[in-house]
Symmetry: C2
């Protein structure tokens, strides 16, 4: 097991009706900015519950944070924060609203052009507004971690930052809030949480028994509950299991003390930036292909994954790995998320552009062994057509 | 899944050499009281490393915190805290030192007789000294939770309290520090962590897929690594897996959103109080018997436990439950912890006294269904002879 530091300070308020305890989590006298995305949280009644729970606070709202939140939009919120002397940010929505709110929190105190936060990965953030969240879309785990991904619309650049200053203080997770989500968003969320888990699991063994078992537990849960979440949108326990899995997939716990990959995310990000595909769609395209191309260096964990997650024990090594990759692909397809470029009317002709973007960012040695060179990335993209 | 609030704020510094980062976790200028138990941390060199890491701080030490830490001893430490104007407590040891240090932290500010903390379960604690820890014995999970159990020697009373004010700020977990532990302490730690997990798992199903998988993951890890920890005391990864399992078994994670039992602990506590057996020994005596007596109400989870943890899939329900109980007993015995009163030269003649103590404390409706009446407790004790 590798050494690690693990810090998971976000208080989780999980379950139906937990919003009633929201006010107790926010310092008295706070000037609260509620951040949100589109109108869905207004239409499904969540925003009304938030306002009700915030009675007694001075509350402003900032809507319109888009999927893959943009620097340009968020800078408008930073102006509101400064103008209205906001002291607490409450993110109501999914991972994009959370990520965007983290950026607002840090940018509000940042002494230079806040784009610099993304160029430096957040390393020089000294201060941020406190953040809380009411999660409505289980997927990214952003509600209890210190990371965010922001896109600059002008240049299509997608950049990540992290800082312990932007850890949310609390997160309200009410599975009922997910009932009204479109199936596509639930499907994307399940795929996203699944791939987050894989990125921290499917590398090489370091005798980290607990981390492996926990990761496998999340994968088994998502495989079992994901399709049910589509078929029975108002099954509380199913939605609860998906929601809790998504949080635990990326709060630092399963990745503590083990190698991590994240190449699927890096290769996928460029597809979103260039073609506008949903984040999870890009992961579903890349992961099966990456498993295939990287089967030699991931052999031991691929075989463990095959056996423990899919119950695949028959055949030789290559056959079991093939079967595990096929099972992964089938699961994504079963969730309604296609797994080939061609399924999205892309023929692969943009692969040189995708590779160029990776190279421009210096992403030329990806994966847990830093052995995913531009040539290997090319093979992965090609294999995903 | 049941509603829950989960808060795990303790920073975990895990791995060989992490003590080097100790000083950065303690506020500059702190007056530190290092608390410890017997002399083992002096003999094995841990205390020397602690002092080295604390260079630059004003450091005092308080030793002699005993297993099942006593109110009487801890009150001496409270006097030291007040006299020396201590501002930070650093617990160096296992669960007893941690538990005792939590009590010192709360008692230092408590406006009345600190025994009242235990009589009220900690509910009226308003303030406590900050605590950090260097863990040397993996077992209780106390290094990252807000609970403690204290014994009053004068009356043999064993009482628990909890308060978010006594959450340790950080815990240094270095598996190397466990190499020199006597086998009995490692065995006890593995059994303790195992039973902590069982108390939060082996109840009745509430469709909490993740919590079940995580609990099973801890049990499987302890079953796999526990015997190796005895056979290969300096196998780093084995000790790391045991240490991390013990922390995660009782930091709130696997118990969030599920029913909990804790009757094994309650019945066991009285055996320690009356006969002085090790805490884990009492758990090993009670658990197999409790599983047997409570097999009707725990049926579904017992069958799940049999299948997923022990791979027992053959036979009818009763046969599979019998096999799972036998496997549990065998595991404890394999760890060198006997599972019957008679193995400790006890013939059961003290059972009326044990029951009387339970009744005096009002522990007359234990377990996840509050259906463990004094009569059921009697059956469990009798079955354990």
């Amino acid at each position: 097991m590798n050494n690690f530091v693990l810090h998971t300070p976000t208080r989780i308020l999980f379950g139906q009706g937990q919003i009633a305890h929201l006010a107790a989590e926010i310092p008295a006298g706070s000037r609260v900015l509620v951040t949100f995305g589109g109108g869905s949280v207004k239409n499904n009644g969540v925003m009304a519950q938030v306002y009700h729970a915030l009675e007694g606070f001075d509350v402003q709202a900032f809507g319109g944070i888009e999927p893959n939140p943009s620097f340009e939009t968020l800078m408008q919120a930073v102006e509101v924060v400064k103008r209205e002397k906001i002291t607490f940010l409450l993110a109501v929505g999914g991972g994009s609203v959370l990520d965007g709110t983290k950026f607002i929190a840090a940018a509000a105190f940042y002494p230079q052009d806040p784009w610099h936060i993304l160029q430096t990965g957040g390393t020089d953030i000294q201060q941020a507004l406190p953040i809380g969240s009411v999660l409505t879309l289980p997927a990214t785990g952003s509600e209890s971690n210190r990371s965010a991904v922001i896109t600059r619309r002008a240049t299509q650049d997608k950049q990540a930052f992290r800082s312990h200053h932007v850890f949310p203080r609390f997160a309200v997770l009410d599975p009922v809030y997910t009932y009204s989500l479109p199936p596509r968003q639930i499907a994307n969320g399940v795929v996203d949480a699944f791939v987050h888990t894989i990125e921290q699991y499917l590398t090489y063994p370091v005798e980290a028994c607990v981390q492996d078992r926990f990761a496998e537990g999340l994968l088994l849960t998502l495989i079992g509950e994901g399709p049910k979440a589509l078929a029975e949108p108002e099954n509380y326990d199913v939605r609860a299991n998906v929601m809790w899995s998504a949080t635990l997939a990326l709060n630092g716990l399963i990745g503590a003390g083990v190698p991590q990959d994240w190449a699927t995310h890096m290769l996928g990000h460029e597809i979103t930036a260039l073609h506008g595909l949903d984040h999870a769609q890009t992961l579903a395209i890349i992961l099966p292909s990456l498993m295939n191309i990287q089967r030699a260096t991931k052999r031991k964990k691929l075989l463990q994954y095959a056996a423990r997650v899919w119950g695949i024990n028959d055949g030789n090594d290559e056959e079991r790995i093939d079967a595990a990759i096929a099972a992964t692909r089938n699961f994504f397809e079963q969730m309604g998320v296609p797994t080939r470029f061609r399924d999205y009317q892309l023929d692969g002709s943009s692969i040189p552009q995708l590779l160029k973007k990776l190279e421009e960012k210096g992403l030329t040695a990806l994966g847990e062994h830093q052995d995913i060179s531009p040539e290997v990335s090319r093979q992965i993209y090609l294999d995903a057509r």
